[in-house]
Amino acid sequence: METPESEGRFMKFKVDEITSVITEEIQHYRSEVDVAEVGKVLEVGDGIARVYGLGNAMASERLEFANGAQGQVFNLEENSVGVVILGDYLGIKEGDEVKRTGELLSVPCGEKLVGRVVDPLGRPLDGMGVIESPHRRPLEFKAPGIAERQPVNQPLQTGIKAIDSMIPIGRGQRELIIGDRKTGKTAIAIDTIINQKGGDVVCVYIAIGQKESTVVGVVEKLREAGAMDYTIVVSASAADPAPLQYVAPYSGAAMAEYFMYSQGRHTLCIYDDLSKQAQAYRQLSLLLRRPPGREAYPGDVFYLHSRLLERSVKLRDEYAIVPKNVPEDSTDRSIILKHPEGLKAPPEHRPDDIEGLYHRPGGLEHAEAYLQTLANKDDHRVHHFPDSGGSLTALPIIETLEGEVSAYIPTNVISITDGQIYLEPDLFFAGVRPAVNVGISVSRVGGNAQRKAMKKIAGTLRLDLAAYRELEAFAQLGTDLDAATQRQLDRGQRMVELLKQPQYQPFHILDQVISIFAGAKGFLDTLPLNKVRGFETEMLQHIRHEFPEIPKEIEERGEMSEELATKLGEVIKNFKDRFGKEA
């Protein structure tokens, strides 16, 4: 909010103006009987409280403490209730009153949150003023069922060559980023956010249990890159009580869901990191005497993560026949013109459900076909509901200890997500950054969410790199190798070099395609290893300036035709000759 001081002038507050508002408010005030169900605090501390009474309280209900803090009902016991306190528990004392609200926890959401740094309850942390948003969403939300979903089919470009080529991520997918500390997990997340600039994705970065200084660093980097224009940062730092750290990922998901469900937009949620959320949940459960299981985690720690990650979804696109005058942005489904035979209509016109909606693959064509058969077809049109077709992509982050991916929490989350990106310290220290082990990293959605152009040239990339890794040992032996093996080694080394990229510099997908094309076709094979990156940068610049029609064609057609490939090959060859002379 702009304060007058920020404009460099001094402003005087007009007291009479606000006095009239206050007088009006007092006049309109009507006293009411305050009826509430209350209990009394028996014990409080470490973020939890036990409350006597509240016989009608329900599980997960929101409670209000006398000092204004909110709580959530965690345990229902014979004469008391175990409560998790979201807020300042230092101001609560024994004997304080606790009120039932009859509601579940919810957070504010909406456009006003974008660009802000907030706590898990939606309160601002960036000192940029109060957030007044009319929209709220519940923290816990049942993930959409099978009928409401669509298979993932659109790419979410991270801007990182190693990922977009061999471990591509689609919109609506859950891809785990897993690795030891200091291997670049957060770096991948930030680069992905930065790469969404100019796109249509709303990003939510959720920092759980991190150092405040680290979060500040992330926010500043995002601001510098102009990413805060489309990003919300939710922070529950290491200094925040465990309940806030527990609730933070659900908060972030709720804020993203607003954009997905009411505006059909694409969203990205990064949970950094879920290991710390599990630890916070363990703390709460142990303090509230829930029986500990493996590694002292409570029995429902799997559900903690599965219900969060199931909320990542690719929603189906919904089409229907509506009267022509219905506005483009209408979400009113009551004015649909239904096929009179409903689900018994002939297959080429058949709607996909009893409401008359078309949402399966091919549904759009069926709707169009049906429209053509209507007598009054000129009075109608096929409408795409703008609140459908959105997505929520999740990039959860898990920190492993000493590479132990078979520990409890990592195995849990691995079994939930649609793929993993493994980051290894050995690669990191060998200079391969991002330190992605492409051999064991996987994306179960894979090629379905990849542009054809990229799919084609990256097709053999992984196999080449795998073969290279096998031969790497020989290179170190220093023995004489046959020509074919030597070629494979050279190619592999250069591809690894090519896949390195500096932080905060995501690559546009078209640049990636051209770059990997150059490598895969062998144009780099004769370059000295330390010249590869320089060559790449200059080559891309050269093509952008001198031959912009090449990337343009790839963009428009979605793939590279044989002719274009030949042409590109020529261009690169010529550039290389020049480069060779200058070098």
Binding site: K14, D34, Y52, G55, E77, N79
Partner: protein, 201 residues
Amino acid sequence: MATVSDKELALAGVYADSMLELGVARDEADSLLDELLELSGLLTKNVEFDAFLASPSVDPDVRRETIEKVFRTRASDLLVNSLQILNRKGRLQILHSVIEAYRLAHNELRGRIDVRVQTAVPLDDDHRDSLKRIIKERTGREGILVETVDDRIIGGLIVHIGDEKLDVSISRQLDRLGVALNERASQEIHSSDRAYWSETV
């Protein structure tokens, strides 16, 4: 309400419920309540006897004999037998909770309910009658009023019936008014920022 621990109350309820059942069967439920309340008063005054009953370092057999000697001729068999059972089970230290649990169970049986009332000035009989009438309408039970006077609520009253709290005090209305004013003012200032600011000279 929370003077006895909630966990103890659960345990005490087990004993209190069976005592009440027997009391009802023998038509002694009301007299047992009176006896228990008298006993409670006695133990509050006579701290050493209270400690004697509650202490785990006293030999249970010695305690058994003492209870027989002191109470058998002066109290109902039901009361003395109950005390002996509690002693045998080593539960005499929750005796106060048992008495409280019995009182609550008895209330329930007789259609009564504890009601705490806070007022700024003492209630008069008209007030009490109206209040009892309202309680009867709301809960179908007879209210047993426990009154406190607290002038911090300024006026009106606060009534606790079971888990429910009905607040018609002036202090609460002032709080609510304060919150409403704050919110409205904040809304105004943040929305139409210009109208409230003028240039200084």
